[in-house]
């Protein structure tokens, strides 16, 4: 699909409002960041169901647990870095352990976080959240995907963590797009290599597939918005067809989405794989494009990784 890029944060705010109408027990909590995250939209629509907790993330998630235990549907909203690092014990034990119905948006993920620098470019959240039993994890490719994920989050019982990049993304999915937990989407068929993308990197994968097409390489592109649970069948069947793969995530390549794909492939269909993502280093301040180039996360880098795994499956020295 083609169309104007949509700010993920706007889609987040709008969908919060949409859900607010549908779920009268929904409460959005904020830790002094609502105009950045765009939770402001919910605040404006439902001021009586918006709760400001100040700069106190541990309390943010503890209060959410208490509200969930009282029958509410809390969306405690803060930056991904502070959800996953500052309040992890609260998320793990007050929320995940008793399997409470709390939906956790993580804003400002990965590289595009304005110029805030290492402490705010959250790259560890996928690895961290995936390690928590009961937690579901999702990373949307575009605005429609984010909207669908948020609806699916509200529908399912139990804790959910989903990511919101601070970036405008071109639409991949149409307005009637639906999201299913544990289901990926085959976006483009190919036979030479599979590019598994999550979050905003799926768009980068599509671009990489275009680049590869120029060289006659037919790349299959699979979007896995649902990182946990993950689509084992699709991952295995696609890799079985193409014989090699590249994963791409807007996060560290240690233990995150790439690892989730490897965990499936190693059991179902071991093939050569390269992971694109932040290579175990702190992210810097800088321009968005600059950062993606600096961290080797551009479509060109995905294409290059694809070439490598293809030659590897052919037994050619790389």
């Amino acid at each position: 699909m083609n169309g104007a890029a949509i700010e993920m944060r706007d889609a987040f705010g709008q969908t919060l409002v949409e859900l607010g109408a549908q779920y009268p027990n929904m409460i959005v909590l904020d830790a002094d960041l609502h105009t950045s995250s765009k939770a402001t939209m919910f605040k404006k629509a439902y001021p009586e169901r918006f709760l400001q907790v100040g700069i106190a993330e541990q309390n943010l998630f503890g209060i959410s647990a208490g509200l969930a235990l009282s029958g509410f549907l809390p969306f405690p909203s803060t930056f991904a870095a502070f959800a996953s690092r500052r309040a992890l014990d609260q998320i793990a034990i007050s929320i995940c352990f008793p399997n409470l119905n709390v939906k956790i948006p993580g804003s400002y993920v990965g590289l595009p976080t304005s110029r805030a620098g290492a402490s705010h470019n959250c790259i560890e959240d996928i690895a961290i959240m995936r390690a928590l039993p009961n937690m579901r994890v999702a990373d949307p490719a575009d605005a429609a995907d984010l909207r669908a994920i948020m609806h699916a989050a509200a529908e399912v019982r139990g804790p959910v963590y989903f990511r919101i990049a601070r970036l405008a993304m071109p639409p991949i999915f149409g307005p009637d797009h639906r999201f299913e937990w544990g289901k990926g989407v085959l976006l483009r068929e190919g036979r030479d290599v599979t590019l598994f993308g999550t979050g905003i990197m799926t768009t980068f994968c599509l671009k990489a597939a275009d680049l590869l097409a120029h060289e006659g390489i037919r790349a299959e592109v699979v979007h896995l918005g649902s990182i946990k649970p993950i689509d084992r069948e699709l991952i295995a069947s696609s890799a079985a067809r193409t014989g090699c793969a590249v994963t791409a995530e807007n996060a560290t390549i240690n233990g995150g989405f790439g690892a989730a794909v490897l965990e499936v492939l190693s059991e179902e269909c071991p093939v050569p794989v390269r992971r694109i993502g932040v290579r175990d280093r702190w992210a810097d301040s800088g321009g968005i494009k600059e950062l993606f180039t600096h961290h080797h996360m551009q479509p060109e880098d995905i294409a290059e990784a694809a070439r490598k795994v293809i030659s590897q499956k052919k037994g050619v020295q790389v």
Partner: protein, 302 residues
């Protein structure tokens, strides 16, 4: 406010039984925290048998009061209180620390009547704030949320985040109780990380403060009456209950070595007999004495 004799006797008996059952559970379960279970025996007795509106037949009753045990390692005392209050048969408590049984800390999925799950210290007051806000959202003016904290636990910053917010939200339906037993896991609070002036801290964080002897049942009844009906004027209330860690068994009193330690059956037997003598009940030893040890004995505790 005069407490009828029968009521006082009942509450004393419950407190005694909470201690007894705690020893039984910890010995049979081969793990657990005697000191912090004993110190809040009267607090739990008064709450569950006099103050709190709960319905054991209907644990999910919408208008019930709630209790969050933030110092979740005190689970044996709470499991005992819930059993005595009729949430489940007494025998169930012996599943404590068994695979699939009642958790060492608290797991609400396992134990009826538990209002929260826990283990890491410092987190419960936030959960209680959420519940108190929930009551407000639901227009329930009678309901109260209680939260029991350890004194050492008050070292945790999360406690003060929650405290600050409870005052900010004017949650006068929230009553925190500090089990001020003067001892934490490895020593006295004043040695490890002093919390004094504790009452000043809570006041500066916007709370009403009541200080009380946490083993004096009529005083506790009075304190909770004030906390529930007199003081709620736009501020949350904290009851600082001065207690003795390990209260009831001399060797455990104020002794951090009994913070976490499972007695062997013979020691448990002696403890239980001492408890009976101390509280004026017929002497009775460890109920499982002589029973074959069913559970793998790993370490003594800690």
């Amino acid at each position: 406010m005069q407490l009828p004799v029968e009521k006082l006797t009942q509450l004393e008996t419950v407190a005694y039984q909470i201690r007894r059952l705690s020893v039984e559970m910890i010995t049979y379960g081969k793990w657990g925290h005697i000191g912090g279970s004993f110190s809040m025996a009267e607090i739990l007795a008064v709450l569950y048998f006099h103050v709190m509106k709960v319905d054991a037949e209907n644990p999910e009753w919408e208008h019930r009061d709630r209790l969050v045990l933030s110092k979740a390692h005190g689970s044996p005392a709470l499991y005992a209180a819930l059993a005595l209050r009729g949430f489940y048969p007494l025998e169930k408590v012996y599943s404590y620390c068994e695979l699939g049984g009642f958790e060492g800390h608290t797991d609400m999925a396992r134990t009826p009547g538990l209002e929260s799950s826990g283990g890491p210290l410092g987190m419960g007051l936030s959960v209680a704030v959420g519940m108190a806000l929930g009551m407000r959202f639901k227009d329930n003016p009678r309901g109260r949320v209680f939260c029991i904290l350890g004194d050492g636990e008050c070292n945790e910053g999360n406690v003060w985040e929650a405290a600050m917010s409870a005052a900010h939200y004017h949650l006068d339906n929230l009553i925190a109780v500090v089990d001020y037993n003067k001892v934490m896991a490895k020593g006295f609070v004043w040695d490890e990380m002093a919390i004094e002036p504790l009452a000043e801290k809570w006041r500066a964080f916007g709370w009403e403060v009541i200080e009380v002897d946490g083993h004096d049942i009529p005083a506790l009844v009075e304190a909770f009456y004030r906390a529930r009906w007199i003081l709620p004027r736009g501020k949350p209330v904290v009851v600082i209950a001065h207690t003795v860690k390990g209260k009831g068994v001399e060797m455990a009193e104020f002794n951090y070595r009994w913070h976490t330690h499972a007695p062997d059956p013979a020691t448990a037997d002696r403890m239980l007999r001492e408890l009976a003598r101390t509280y004026g009940f017929p002497e009775q030893g460890y109920s499982k004495l002589g029973e074959p040890e069913v559970k793998e004995n790993f370490y003594g505790g800690e």
